[in-house]
Assembly symmetry: C2
């Protein structure tokens, strides 16, 4: 017989973290009873068991309680926070969804179970497609799409371009480097540990990579790795690395600006100022920010291309899975300590 009330663990925001990495002082786990009985579910709603939750840098910017530069709304105090995720429909009051459907949502509660309007579901996933479910949050999801927009659309990657990718070992970086290689670029990455440098070179096929925590002078580092200058810089980190890059750009370089994670833990007036923006004029650089949500008209093209690469083994994927929702705060913290490898995901419940 089907369960009608569950205890659902969920993460809520106990306080804003203006600066620094949010801790369990700011993010707190609680357990709430949730009725899953059909008559308690409103029309056009579904009850969902969460399977996988995507742990993404932008979540941190929704916990600062102030204008941040990414402009996602701040999470409300004492409310459950939300994230991209994959879940399984348990009960449905919408004829388009049935029990057992695997569904994707950009704003699932970070919880074990939830009842949500069916209108928020992005789509159903076909489990017979042979793609592991977490991949829909990785290469086939937001990070993979961000990498594609950055490298193929805005970066205009061409054979022989010199491409530099920061946060190279993360969800976006791992895909971006491989896409740039497939387009014939020479690709160099930066990341935060020697183990991740090895990962990037050995598993993701980067031509070379360096550990920025060991480099004292980024300018000298880039001179060494880019004797012929930089044509494309996929910007994931901001601050001093961007400043160094701007001293090494070639004429007409492209800088797709995907994120600036090194600046997410400070209020904006405390962030690192970039002093050499004048190089943008002399080198005629195009620096362009983007949010994947603005490129949804290209998502189908992307999906076809990326599924092809995955099936042909042309893109390799690494996913770091934390088991159990209790690990959310720790997994979010891992994004800021270089302890994550590849795409970070939480397995909330085992898929059957």
């Amino acid at each position: 017989m089907a369960v009608n009330v569950v205890e659902s663990k969920e993460w809520y925001l106990a306080g804003y973290a203006a600066e620094g990495v949010p801790t369990t002082d700011h993010l707190t786990l609680r357990s709430v009873p949730l009725s899953l009985s059909l008559d308690s579910i409103p029309d056009a709603y579904v009850a969902v068991q969460l399977l996988f939750i995507s742990v993404d840098p932008y979540l941190r910017t929704r916990m600062s309680g102030q204008e941040d530069g990414l402009y996602f709304p701040q999470f409300s105090l004492n409310q459950v926070i939300t994230a991209f995720g994959v879940g399984r429909v348990m009960r449905s009051k919408d004829e388009k969804y049935s029990e057992g459907d695997i569904v994707l949502n950009a704003f699932f509660p970070v919880a074990e179970y939830c009842v949500v309007p069916s209108s928020v579901l992005i789509r159903k996933i076909d489990p017979e497609a042979g793609i592991p479910l977490p991949e829909y949050l990785s290469c086939l999801g937001v990070p993979g799409f961000a990498a594609w927009v950055g490298i193929e659309v805005l970066g205009e990657a061409k054979p022989g371009s010199n491409a530099f990718i920061s946060a190279a070992a993360g969800g976006v970086g791992m895909v971006a480097g491989q896409l740039a290689k497939l387009k014939g670029c020479r690709v160099i990455g930066s990341t935060g540990s020697d183990a991740k440098v090895r990962l990037v070179k050995e598993e993701f096929g980067y031509d070379d990579a360096f550990n920025y925590n060991k480099e004292v002078d980024f300018d000298a580092t880039l001179s060494k790795y880019f004797p012929n200058g930089i044509d494309i810089y996929l910007e994931n980190v901001g601050g001093k690395m961007l400043e160094a890059v701007l001293n090494h750009v070639n004429p007409h370089a492209r800088i797709p600006v995907c994120g600036m994670i090194s600046q997410y833990n400070q209020i904006w007036t405390e962030r690192e100022g970039v002093r050499n923006l004048l190089n943008i004029v002399g080198k005629e650089v195009r620096m362009e920010g983007f949010l994947v949500g603005s490129y949804l008209d290209r998502f189908a093209d992307f999906t076809v291309e990326m599924e092809g690469y995955l099936k042909q083994g042309k893109i390799s994927s690494k996913i770091k899975i934390y088991e159990g929702i209790q690990n959310f705060a720790e997994s979010l913290g891992s994004l800021f300590s270089s302890s994550n490898f590849g795409k970070v995901v939480i397995e909330v419940n085992k898929p059957r």
Copy 2:
């Protein structure tokens, strides 16, 4: 009988000015004898009497003796400096040019007379076209073209766009504001004195303008002038103004980066760091540097359009003319003291 030797006054670089506005310690006038006799002129050279010299901000960056971000080669010590100018051919050893031709060159010596290879001449000007010669250095020259590239090509000015133009009363700014108005934008300018605020509003048709020297908090100023945010920012000044603008940009704003004159008198490590570049991501801003030299394939389109506007009186032009080459250092200094109005030009010799 034609003169065969002239005394030509010329400005040479006596020393680099790493910081601050170059003075006569760095820029020095001297008089040199120059032979204009036909047999002293090499084949494919012409002797030219300079008529007008364009006084431009980038000239300052060629006098710093260090990497500057605009990447024009540094002037050599003790050599005559060069500038955009209009001259009259006095003697010619190239059959394409005859005595009396009015010619344009991007790199004329800043001198009263010169002998140059005819290959450096950009083109002949038809004095019968009815356009005053200095206009070829202003609305129809580099500043006008820069304004056109910034507003029409990269800025994608559309009816209803909110456009902000810094250095609004200068050579680029006066044209840019009028072009943006012609495209149907709401146009606000910033400039350095109350008299220039009046000029911008009364002669160049800006909807409004402010004196940045009187504003203590650019952020508050922009809130006041842009209640609906900024769609296009033609960047001429850089530093704190750019930072303030980035707090007021609308989604998908364009920032054509024409120059950053507030930063030309410092070495790059001393320049004002911009701390809120993360807004480029959240607002999906496109910030693009340009040099007019890269858009020469569009110069003919521009010329047709601009000549039309000038003839129809749709664009009004203001040119500040300094009489005599001895005023070069002072006129260059005027670009940094808000004492210039419109495009600054030196009349070296009276056209006949």
